[in-house]
């Protein structure tokens, strides 16, 4: 896989409106899902208790319910997990007290020979964590815009932030659609992707900026489009190789990392794809559109200035 800059005919810019439309439609669909179905919030964001029961052999939901009924409990929900469905997860909305969880733990310790995991939580903690993360990301976004404006130019910063929110929203939308459980590690995954997304976009922008300095005079859309296309092709091998290597790590975690990491690694995989896609097809193109508009405005202002000056002379 080598992309030879001179003779590749890849034209990213030509199809930009299709990419914008694709992303908009998907994100819109995601937002609709989010506002109607919502996210499948895990125990971290709900009030209640979940008990993970690990058995040596395959269990069924009925079997797990049966064991609970033996000691007089009715879980609100029982789901199965694990390689061969050897983990039963029972949730109790509203929560159990210490005495009750202890009784359950001891019971299942007797039945399956391993102490079940118990988490109880008030929604406060998870909600606070999520809210805090969102606020931090917003503040970080402002910081990034400032840094990029100083090092590059405001329009680069703006486009990078749009790409960042695109990627974060993308993951959330996918999770709303597939209804996988959202827990605290999920937030960590979204944060990882945000870090990765910025990294990826900045690398592309760096090349655009460098190529801009080689251009003698950038007149309008066509010149800019050429620079963007050239830069994207030049960084394409890097973009693809980086996403492939990180993808290897995330995919290995998804398939082999066990139940606890599944939601986390799925969020990573989805985010990686979205991050690479947005750097190539959204961020750079958006910059192109914004920059073209800026150039036009600048020219118009020049003309107006000229026009204003003429009557006087």
């Amino acid at each position: 896989m080598n992309f030879e800059h001179g003779n590749t005919k890849l034209d990213f810019v030509k199809h930009r409106n299709k990419f914008f439309a694709l992303s908009s439609v998907f994100l819109l669909f995601g937002l609709i899902m989010l506002s109607t179905v919502g996210l499948n919030l895990g125990i971290d964001f709900k009030s209640g208790t979940t008990i993970d029961i690990m058995a040596d052999e395959t269990v069924t939901a009925d079997e797990v319910r049966g064991h609970f009924e033996e000691i007089g409990y009715t879980p609100d929900d029982v789901t199965l997990a694990g390689e061969n469905n050897n983990i039963g997860r029972a949730s109790f909305i509203g929560g159990l007290d210490q005495q009750e969880t202890l009784e359950i733990q001891n019971h299942f310790d007797d039945v399956y020979g391993s102490m079940p995991n118990v988490s109880t939580v008030t929604p406060l903690v998870g909600e606070e964590l999520a809210r805090n993360a969102i606020i931090s990301v917003l503040i970080a976004a402002v910081g990034i815009i400032i840094y990029v404006t100083i090092r590059f130019e405001f329009l680069y910063g703006l486009s990078a932030i749009v790409a960042l929110f695109h990627d974060a929203l993308f993951i959330v939308a996918v999770f709303s659609i597939v209804q996988m459980e959202v827990n605290i590690p999920f937030i960590a995954a979204v944060l990882t992707i945000i870090g990765y997304s910025i990294n990826d976009t900045i690398v592309t922008f760096d090349r655009i900026r460098e190529n801009m300095t080689y251009e003698k005079k950038v007149k309008g859309f066509d010149d800019l489009a050429r620079v963007v296309n050239k830069s994207l092709v030049q960084t394409l091998a890097r973009s693809i190789n980086t996403v492939i290597t990180v993808f290897f790590a995330a995919a290995a975690l998804f398939f082999l990392g066990g139940e606890a990491l599944r939601a986390f690694s799925l969020a990573l995989v989805v985010g990686l794809v979205a991050g690479t896609y947005s750097s190539l097809f959204i961020a750079a193109q958006l910059w192109l559109v914004l920059k073209t508009r800026q150039l036009k405005k600048g020219r118009r202002r020049m003309k107006r200035l000229e026009g204003e000056q003429q009557p006087e002379t």
């Binding site: 896989m1 030879e4 690990m54 210490q98 202890l102 391993s114 102490m115 079940p116 995991n117 118990v118 988490s119 939580v121 008030t122 903690v125 606070e128 964590l129 805090n132 993360a133 606020i135 931090s136 970080a140 910081g143 990034i144 840094y147 990029v148 090092r151 590059f152 605290i184 590690p185 937030i187 960590a188 944060l191 990882t192 870090g195 990765y196 910025i198 990294n199 900045i202 690398v203 760096d206 090349r207 091998a237 190789n241 980086t242 492939i244 290597t245 990180v246 290897f248 790590a249 995330a250 995919a251 290995a252 975690l253 082999l256 990392g257 066990g258 139940e259 990491l261 986390f264 990573l268």
Partner: protein, 438 residues
Amino acid sequence: MKKRKKVKKSFIIAFFAIVIALGTLISTNVMAHVNNINLGLDLQGGFEVLYEVEPIDSESEINRELLSATVSALNARIDVLGVSEPNISIEGDNRIRVQLAGVTDQETARELLSTEARLSFRDVNDEVKMDGGDLVEGGARQNFHPDTNQPIVEVTVEDSSLFEEVTREISNRPLGENILAIWLDYEEGDTYEEEIMKEDSKIVSAPQVSHVISSRDVMIEGNFTTEEAGDLAGILNAGALPVELTEIQADSVGASLGERSMEMAINAGIVGIALIFAYMLVYYRFMGFISLLTLTGYIYLVLVVFDWMNAVLTLPGIAALILGVGMAVDANIITFERIKDELRSGKSMMSAFRAGSRRSLSTILDANITTILAAGVLFYFGTSAVQGFAVMLIVSILASFITSVFGARLLLGLWVNSRILNKRPRMFGVKEREISEL
């Protein structure tokens, strides 16, 4: 064409010397660092409770001082439990998180932690006769009842006349009302009649007092096992909590499940990293080999830093570490792609290496600084889990910068400058026909 310059063998010898030295360093002490790293509860089992701290009476206010006092009181209690390496941290303005790794008897632990250990002696009308302040500090001990041989807790009263007076008054009351109830954590609104009926009562014991007692020692009987009596004595000696603790989150992980999660995550990590190595070798050839070395260095460095920082490794932490490898690879890829670009444009191996390294540096710097900036903000404004993640991210970026930028430059530079690779672009994954004439 110019005559090929002589190969400088000393550079290659230096390369192998460095690799062997680092290899020896890593192989001899990596396990020591790994074993030193604290594992989170999700990896070794145990349990974790988040408490909200409330003042005992409405007058006092929760401040930093009171929180620290609570933490030291909790520490003293955990000593009673005999847990090694407990982790107690203050979060926000009014929360304390207690993590006890490897604790199996959760119930006892939770009870010992959250009890305020305020002892009070009350009559059947719930009127206070004596409280913890009237007892000799540190004077509680586990003993056996002289008659029944049952385990009891003994406390000593500061002033013998006080106890005499209290017992005289109670013993004069009619039968059924001559009771001196010993309460643990009495709260406004609790009544004797209700509480004595409860199975898990706050009244530890409710002895009848039929005659005046003139000794200073008070026996607390309560159907204890020897252990329970010992624990209660320990708690009483550790002192009362200055605040009230309400459990707002609890998490427990069975040891076997934790171990299994860790094993799976590590296996997944090994597979993922092996795939990355293989890909880099196939795609970047010789440069891939260099990145294999620097990535190994990266993993080692991150582990060492983690050990130094006394950080706690959790499941998402392992995932972030594995993913960090991907981020470190990125720095390599950016540099290698640049070098290939320069080679294709017809530059000599040495100048392609120099130009490629120089030009990629500013890109990597910009990308990493923006990410560190984001991580810094997350650390500053985030809560515990987010903060831990931000630290992990910053450590990864800095470590990858050192190994993938400087390490790779040094190692690759030795080979390039030895001139052995001159006129061998294929070693770098560049085909001859791709090279344009200058």
